[in-house]
């Protein structure tokens, strides 16, 4: 136990990665680093800025919806805002969120590796991410204004509009490239850098979920890459492949777009599900129930995710045959997701549950995500979808699965791995209060949208009929609650980093995976000596035995 005390001279390997001497100094030690932990933190800081920006836009949009007619912005501004909100949230936060931050930081440690397989490529992914993000922001300030197409860039409107679609689309293309390289890196890392004894079915479930995610990143992202390039080429040269005026079929744009973007939904949610499978056994003090089914269901979700993209196009005019097939296949996605939820709940059964802040976020996730998942089934059914498509019901559904799913787990992950990442602790009481605060705000904001949507309120309109106003008011008030909760949470975390009490224990939560065996924060190359694994990832008896040995010694 040589941690923390300054008096004890440390060996090079025991200096944590913040303080270790590297080739470059100061800010360059970060900008030129190939250390997966630093890169993960760089993603975290960039992502926080993008998230706050898109959140602000979201709040302004909600404010516009407070009263019918123009409240604070014009219709054109509103169009640009929902496009920008979607592009930033999806391409800069939700898709890269968990894998780029926590995958980068934790995945090599969980595998018992010193870094990812291609550390330089990893840094390059971060730069591509920043360039893509920069371009998306840059498109605000030049030419004829922000794209007003929505984040989906549907042709033929995206080909015709005079706004800056080309730049936004190119930004998304670069972000896709960044995503591909991250996925490729993780896949090779998982195949090549597992420590001795770390067989496939001894890998933590977070690793399994990132593995499945990485396959989607590698095998789906190129399709949207080429589709977005085609939009740029259409705009620049008038090639015509999506332009109905020239004989193109705009539905093919939608096909190609969703061939990526539906699997991308699983890029967003799978890593979050992986984190849940880490947090629950830790705080239930019990091995996870059904390890193999959860691991396999991650792969199954990844595969089935390729089969269902057509459900985004039910009302677009695709053939009836394909609508029936896609609707049927959509219901199959519920199976592997159901397996996961059942296994999580079964893990809690007879567990010795400790309701810490990360666990609380996770429980709220299960509740909120279940609402999101079940309302997805009504949208996957053909007949109800025709009634609900392009209404606020859809908006509510995807915020429940995306924000309630990935977003809440992103918050849970920060709280869970906070002591490991920073060697400090946040204020636990405040963290728990913000968890409830966020959950209340979240449901106040999005639940009325289900009702409005069911009544027929269309999405992406800046104006509405007076009978919807009461729901819009509730929803807007909800946005204030939610945002204040997030801000307090952010303040609590930043405060924790700056002057939180030291947490230098290796394993403050009693976790069983390898990241809890290294010092907090970990040294530069994580392990003094590459560990050898002899048991599965959630073996609590093993942890207890170690404790007892330490005591008896």
């Amino acid at each position: 136990m040589a941690n923390g005390t300054i008096a004890v001279p440390k060996k090079a390997a025991e200096v944590d990665f913040y303080h270790v001497r590297t080739k470059h100094k100061g800010i360059m030690a970060w900008l030129l680093t190939t250390d997966h932990k630093r890169i993960g933190l760089m993603y975290l800081s960039a992502m926080s800025v993008f998230f706050l920006a898109a959140m602000t836009i979201g709040v302004l949009m909600r404010l516009e919806m407070l009263t019918p007619g123009e409240t604070i912005m014009s219709a054109q501004t509103y169009n640009s805002f929902f496009t920008l909100h979607g592009v930033i949230m999806i391409f800069l936060f939700i898709i890269p969120g968990v894998p780029a931050v926590f995958g980068n930081f934790m995945l090599p440690i969980q595998l018992g590796a010193k870094d990812v397989q291609f550390p330089k490529l990893n840094l390059m992914s971060w730069y591509l991410y920043m360039i893509g993000g920069g371009l998306a922001i840059f498109s605000l300030f030049i030419g004829s204004g922000i794209a007003d197409t929505g984040w989906t860039f549907y042709a033929p409107y995206s080909i015709r509009t005079t706004t800056n679609v080309s730049i936004s689309v190119f930004a998304a293309f670069i972000l896709g490239f960044s995503s591909i390289l991250t996925g490729l890196n993780f896949l090779t890392t998982i195949h090549r850098l597992r420590c001795p004894g770390m067989t496939w079915f001894r890998m933590p479930l977070f690793v399994w979920s990132v593995y499945a995610t990485s396959w989607i990143q590698v095998l789906a992202t190129p399709i949207i890459g080429i589709t977005l390039l085609l939009v740029i080429l259409e705009r620049a040269f008038g090639i015509g492949v999506f332009d109905p005026a020239l004989g193109g079929d705009p539905l093919l744009y939608q096909h190609l777009f969703w061939i990526y973007s539906h699997p991308a939904v699983y890029i967003m949610i799978l890593p979050a599900m992986g984190v849940v499978s880490e947090i629950i056994p830790t705080f239930a003090k019990k091995p996870i129930f059904g390890y193999v089914p959860i691991a396999i269901s991650s792969l199954a979700i990844a595969l089935v995710g390729y089969l269902v993209w057509g459900h985004h196009m039910f009302s677009s005019g695709i053939s009836d045959t394909s609508r029936v097939i896609f609707s049927l296949l959509t219901f199959f996605v519920a199976l592997p997701s159901g397996i996961k939820v059942f296994n999580w709940v079964a893990t809690l059964y007879k567990g010795s549950i400790e309701m810490t802040a990360p666990m609380l976020f996770t429980m709220l996730f299960i509740f909120i995500f279940s609402i999101g998942g079940l309302t997805g089934l009504t949208l996957g059914a053909l007949n109800t979808d025709l009634h609900l498509t392009d209404t606020y019901y859809v908006v509510a559904h995807f915020h429940y699965v995306m924000f309630g799913g990935m977003g809440l787990i992103f918050f849970a992950s920060i709280h869970y791995w906070f002591p490991k990442m920073f060697g400090k602790m946040y204020n636990e009481k405040v963290a728990k209060v913000t968890a409830y605060w966020i959950a209340i705000g979240f449901n106040t904001l999005y639940f009325p949208m289900f009702i409005m949507g069911y009544m027929g309120m269309p999405r992406r309109y800046y104006d509405y009929l007076p009978e919807y106003q009461i729901y819009h008011i509730i929803s807007t008030v909800g946005s204030w609650i939610l945002v204040s909760g997030i801000l307090v949470m952010a303040f609590n975390l930043i405060n924790g980093i700056r002057k939180g009490k030291k947490c230098t224990e290796d394993n403050p939560w009693g976790g069983t995976t390898l990241e809890w065996t290294v010092p907090s924060p970990p040294p530069l190359e994580n392990f003094d000596e590459i560990p050898t694994v002899t048991a599965g990832p959630y073996d609590h008896t093993h942890i207890h035995k170690q404790d007892r040995q330490e005591v008896s010694n």
Partner: protein
């Protein structure tokens, strides 16, 4: 090169040096898959429009010169062969022969691009290009055909350029003895990339030139 294969994993203290040829090959293969699916999106579009405009595609393909296409196929297949031969030569420690084969590959690649330039040039000359005078008089199916023709052969040509740069870089490293008979993974990776570009052409050729 004082590489001792028994201690392949030896670590140098400050910097994490870790040579893993197998992993590097795996990374390359995964990257190739992204290329396959990048073109895959275009092949899906091609299949769709060929299905919708079957007759127009036959008419439009008449504009293409089968002989030129066939010559380019032979050139690319040959360049693929010489890359493999370069790897074999290097593994037999024949550096000079290896470089010679790679020069042949580069030469073939350049010839391919020159041919492509003349093919595109001829079409432009006849006004067959997006928004071009001749193309505007053609049917919708033909417009789709040429739209896809330009995008797919153009993107393929771009990959030839990237492949040539990659091979050029590898040649430079062979010259400097960075890539050697015992450390040839980069050469193999550049070969994998070049073969993929070849495979894509193997499909583009019959799909665009051989429709009657």
């Amino acid at each position: 090169m004082s590489y001792n294969s028994d201690t392949a994993d030896q670590e140098i203290h400050e910097v994490h040096i870790h040579r893993d040829d197998f992993g590097s090959k795996m990374g390359m293969w995964l990257f190739l898959f992204t290329e396959v699916l990048l073109f895959g999106g275009l092949f899906i579009l091609y299949a769709s429009y060929r299905f919708i405009y079957a007759d127009a595609f036959v008419v439009a393909a008449g504009e293409l010169d089968v002989f030129m296409g066939a010559i380019n196929t032979v050139i690319l297949l040959t360049s693929s062969l010489t890359v493999v031969l370069a790897i074999v030569a290097l593994q037999k420690s024949n550096k000079k022969l290896s470089l010679f084969f790679l020069w042949v590959t580069v030469f073939c690649g350049l010839i391919f691009l020159v041919n492509k330039y003349f093919e595109w040039g001829a079409k432009f000359h006849h006004g067959i290009y997006p928004k071009g005078p001749a193309l505007q008089d053609m049917s919708e199916g033909e417009v789709m055909y040429f739209g896809l023709y330009y995008v797919m052969t153009g993107l393929h040509g771009l990959h030839i350029v990237v492949g040539l740069a990659f091979i050029g870089f590898v040649m430079w490293q062979i010259k400097k003895d960075v890539i050697t008979a015992t450390n040839f993974q980069k050469l193999e990776n550049s070969g994998l990339y070049w073969h993929l570009v070849d495979i894509i052409w193997i499909f583009l050729f019959p799909l665009f030139y051989l429709i009657h």
